[in-house]
């Protein structure tokens, strides 16, 4: 069996500049709260060195997920990670993995890295810090169309072509998918997978490009994506936050976003909390530079 064992090592070593994640042990772990894994996992064979050395902030990040992050460190999460690390007297090292099912399990919980830069503030898979921004799903349209749609109840949504991002089956989807379906707005809704074509840069851009080209009239997109790509589109675009911000009891369209650490990592959690508070103005400046639509945070 030695040759089999060699191959396991080879997979780990094969990961060079971009360290792809190891195992998808199956499955979304919605709300799981287990202990960090210590089992030998074939494709994450690098020895987990929890905490690393004190001078390093180990960040779990997606190598191809603009405007949040990429392996050229061009995303706002990359910039904010640098900012926070400096505040803590550290420098950033990345563990790269596509942010999909199993991300937390294979990165943070596998102790390949110690902080995720963006999660919903009430995320249950890890220990979120205080929120450092709040954004909302937005309507994105071409400025020259003068649509100015601001509400899910706008009757024109029954006529225009709508682009949304979609995630999966079993009802797992961004809130726009659910809200439009609840209003029986279905036939004029076009889907773009949130994963996009991962072989291309900017895999999530397609839904905004579809607005620019006229493929759809309006897109309902998570704010940071909509704001960033709208500002960089070929034609002038208009964005407006989705209202109602809370559509019935079940469908929020605005989310506080936090960083997150392992549940037992109180020290890093507290240090990040303090750094976020001290550098709030700088964080805001970075987010504005990326045209992230910002709402007043619910904690302030």
């Amino acid at each position: 069996m030695s040759s089999v064992c060699r191959s396991i090592g080879a997979i780990a070593v094969a990961a060079a500049a971009v360290v792809w994640t190891g195992l998808e042990a199956g499955i979304t772990v919605a709300g799981a709260s287990g202990q960090p894994s210590s089992v030998a996992q074939p494709t994450s064979a690098a020895p987990p060195s929890s905490g690393a050395d004190a001078g390093v902030l180990r960040v779990c990040s997606d190598p191809n997920n603009m405007p949040f992050s990429n392996d050229r460190q061009q995303g706002f999460e990359n910039r904010i990670a640098d900012l926070v690390a400096r505040e803590l007297g550290r420098h950033v090292e990345y563990f790269w993995a596509p942010q999909r099912r199993g991300f937390v399990r294979n990165t943070l919980r596998a102790r390949q890295c110690d902080v995720m830069m963006g999660v919903p503030a009430r995320y249950e898979l890890a220990r979120p810090t205080r929120p450092y921004y709040r954004s909302s799903y937005v309507f994105v349209s071409r400025r020259d169309r003068h649509l100015d749609i601001r509400s899910l109840d706008d009757p024109r949504l029954r006529r225009v072509q709508i682009g949304i991002q979609i995630v999966g089956s079993d009802y797992a989807n961004p809130p726009a998918a659910q809200a439009l379906a609840a209003r029986k707005i279905v036939g004029n809704v076009h889907g773009y997978t949130v994963f996009g074509d991962y072989s291309q840069p900017d895999p999530q851009r397609a839904v905004v490009d579809a607005v620019a080209t006229g493929e759809v009239d309006v897109a309902v997109v998570w704010g940071p994506l909509g704001g960033y790509y709208a500002a960089r589109a070929a034609v002038p675009m208009a964005i407006a936050p989705v209202t109602p911000q809370q559509d019935g009891p079940a469908l929020p369209f605005a989310f506080d976003i936090s960083m997150a650490v392992r549940k037992d990592d109180a020290a890093l959690h507290d240090a990040l909390d303090a750094a976020i508070a001290r550098r709030a103005a700088d964080i805001r400046r970075i987010l504005r530079a990326f045209d992230v639509p910002l709402l007043q945070r619910s904690d302030t």
């Binding site: 080879a10 042990a25 202990q35 099912r101 963006g118 999660v119 919903p120």
Partner: protein
């Protein structure tokens, strides 16, 4: 008739004739029925074993009248995933029988080195066992002539590691097939490889799908004549399902037949003759969706493929409709959750039957389709038997696609029955799911009354052996989650044991009479292991807590069991060793969708974790940890 003689005859003939069946149908039947005549099939009554008594008083009907097998079954080797084109998972070998099964013991074991879900099964031919591991999908060849089995070669394909982050439900592989001197199997990264069976060298490597758009491959290919037929996985990621045919010599893609979209893409032409009006019409793969939703319509092919040489049709089932919430995709969403019959040369669709239109429960119908000709309903018929995720055993006329029967094999309430005239289920609207609405007590749960794990059929007993689950579920509430930087909301799906005080059952199903003969119940876990039926009237299967069992094929009475190192989600096979003796092999390595709960990093405290299966599976951690062992048993 001497079984081993038949085996040699078949092998010799096959080498000359390639993959084409070498014996006439009549000879196969003789061999099937003759094999096992020396077994003491009826001497089981004086030995009960300590295991659970089967529930139900039904008896095995015995060999069906007018029996005809569509192709040669396994007689000593195991050359394709199911052992035979008809997907019977039946071997004529009968040295191990109901009298001596109690004397089974471990002959050898070896580790694959990959502690993940070991679905699938080894191949055995020319005194060599071939094992495909879970990702990274190494092919291990074991020389069975050496003491304990010695490694002949390990072929390491090094699939793209990114595929690991894309696979939905553990990084499983469902096995290889042998043809044209090559071991042919899929890699997780949507590639198919062919490896020289003797030397272990790669003969070709064909990139069929694209992981960048969410495709992975987990299913076992099937070779029909000069074509490798293989399907894609990834329905949860917006993948559009298809089967592809590759040239067995080169791996070149000859055609792809999609399961959604316009008729040209689905390969629907003048020869398409679905039996029911509900499945007839032009471009249904488009018109039964809203707009262009079919482009992300799922309906992938991650289960089993069977083949009927006489009609030259191959059969498979399709997965759930993709990506769109049911509320957002009004319409039947064809051809999701359907059974498809295609011409094996051209890929043209001949008939299709959608088992559930507009799926709202995740009832993929990718399960095996067993092909057998037998007397049914008073006359000889060409049957296709499909034990469904929906809880129904569907029996079709496989030439026409007519549904002859659909009866439940486990507690089922989403529909009360099927109307055989229209082919439609009679659904209970209170069990329909809707986002934001709580729907409780849906049976079966999303994992189905059975999953991809395959059944077996014995031509000697007339029974279909179904590895079954008894779980129900609640759909409720919402759950904020986060992927690719984007917050999204999902339904909480909570699964739990169904009524009756058991969670799993090995069902002995009387095909001719459309009813359960008996069931061996497992109080703790679903039966998530494949089944093997043999000419010795011994049926083998495993449990998620690691017991590998031999039961009497006629009565379900336990004959023997052995506790393996890890839970069993693989499929048993049997073969003749170099010494001429019968052996049985099984993987022991828990994992897969339900079994992944055994992994330490999935919390058993959260009933909604692991796509909801934790609620049904939380006990598993107490009974089984991950494993990677191949066990071989003999007398």
């Amino acid at each position: 008739m001497n079984v081993r003689g038949v085996e040699r005859g078949v092998r010799g003939a096959r080498l000359a004739a390639g993959a084409a069946p070498a014996l006439g149908a009549a000879a196969w039947i003789l061999a099937v029925l003759a094999a096992g005549c020396t077994g003491n099939a009826r001497e089981h009554n004086d030995r009960g074993g300590a295991g659970p008594a089967p529930v139900g008083s039904g008896t095995a009907p015995g060999a069906p009248a007018d029996l005809h097998l569509v192709s040669d079954v396994s007689r000593g080797e195991w050359r394709m995933a199911a052992g035979d084109y008809g997907n019977l998972r039946y071997s004529t070998l009968d040295t191990i029988n109901t009298s001596n099964a109690k004397d089974l013991h471990v002959v050898t074991t070896f580790s694959t080195g990959i502690p993940h879900g070991h679905e699938g099964q080894p191949l055995v031919l020319d005194n060599t066992m071939y094992v495909v591991t879970p990702y990274p999908n190494n092919l291990i060849a074991v020389d069975l002539t050496k003491p304990g089995g010695a490694i002949k070669f390990v072929y390491e394909p090094h699939p793209d590691p990114r595929s690991v982050g894309i696979a939905c439900c553990d990084v499983v592989n469902r096995g290889a097939t042998f043809a044209d001197g090559k071991i042919i199997f899929s890699l997780l990264d949507a590639t198919v490889v062919a490896v020289d069976a003797e030397r272990g060298t790669e003969v070709w490597r064909s990139k069929v799908g694209d992981i960048n758009i969410g495709e992975t491959f987990t299913a076992a290919p099937l070779v029909v004549k000069d074509k490798v037929i293989v399907g894609n996985s990834g329905g949860e990621l917006g993948v559009r399902g298809y089967v592809a045919a590759l040239d067995v010599k080169t791996g070149k893609i000859l055609w792809k037949a999609y399961n959604t979209g316009p008729d040209a893409d689905v390969k629907i032409g003048a020869t398409f003759k679905p039996f029911y009006a509900k499945d007839q019409g032009k471009d249904l793969g488009v018109s039964t969706w809203q707009g262009e939703q079919w482009k992300l319509g799922g309906s992938t092919v991650w289960g089993w493929i069977s083949y009927d040489p006489e009609t030259n049709l191959f059969f498979y089932g399709t997965g759930n409709p993709g990506v769109w919430n049911p509320d957002l995709r009004p319409g039947d969403n064809k051809w999701s959750c359907a059974i498809m019959a295609r011409d094996a040369d051209t890929g043209e669709l001949r008939w299709a039957y959608q088992a559930t239109a507009h799926d709202m429960w995740d009832y993929d119908e990718i399960m095996e389709n067993l092909l057998v000709d037998m007397q049914y309903g008073g006359r000889a018929r060409k049957l296709l038997i499909h034990p469904g995720r929906t809880g129904f055993v569907y029996v079709f006329d496989r030439a026409s696609g007519e549904l002859l029967s659909a009866e439940t094999f486990e507690p089922t309430n989403w529909a009360s029955k099927y109307d055989l005239k229209t082919g439609r289920p009679q659904e209970d609207p209170t069990k329909h799911t809707q986002y934001g609405k709580v729907t409780q007590g849906i049976c079966p749960s999303s994992t189905g009354a059975k999953d991809v794990i395959p059944s077996a059929f014995s031509p000697r007993t007339g029974l279909l052996y179904i590895p079954a689950h008894n779980t129900c579920m609640d759909y409720e509430g919402i759950d904020a989650n986060y992927i690719a930087g984007t917050p999204y909301l999902g339904a909480d799906v909570k699964m739990y044991p169904g009524p009756g005080g058991y969670q799993g059952e090995l069902v002995g199903w009387d095909v001719a009479h459309n009813k359960k003969a008996w069931g061996v119940q497992d109080p703790k876990f679903p039966v998530y292991s494949g089944v093997l039926a043999t000419g010795g009237d011994v049926v083998f299967y495993g449990t998620m807590d690691g017991w590998f069992k031999a039961i009497d094929a006629r009565t379900g009475t336990e004959l023997w069991k052995f506790h393996c190192a890890s839970g069993i989600v693989g499929n048993p096979i049997t073969y003749l060793g170099p010494d001429g003796k019968q052996y049985v092999a099984i993987y022991s390595g828990i994992g897969g969708w339900m079994g992944a709960v055994a992994f330490p990093d999935i919390s058993a405290d959260d009933p909604y974790a692991a796509l909801g299966v934790v609620g049904a599976m939380k006990e598993i951690k107490k009974y089984s940890a991950a494993g990677s062992t191949v066990y071989v048993f003999g007398l």
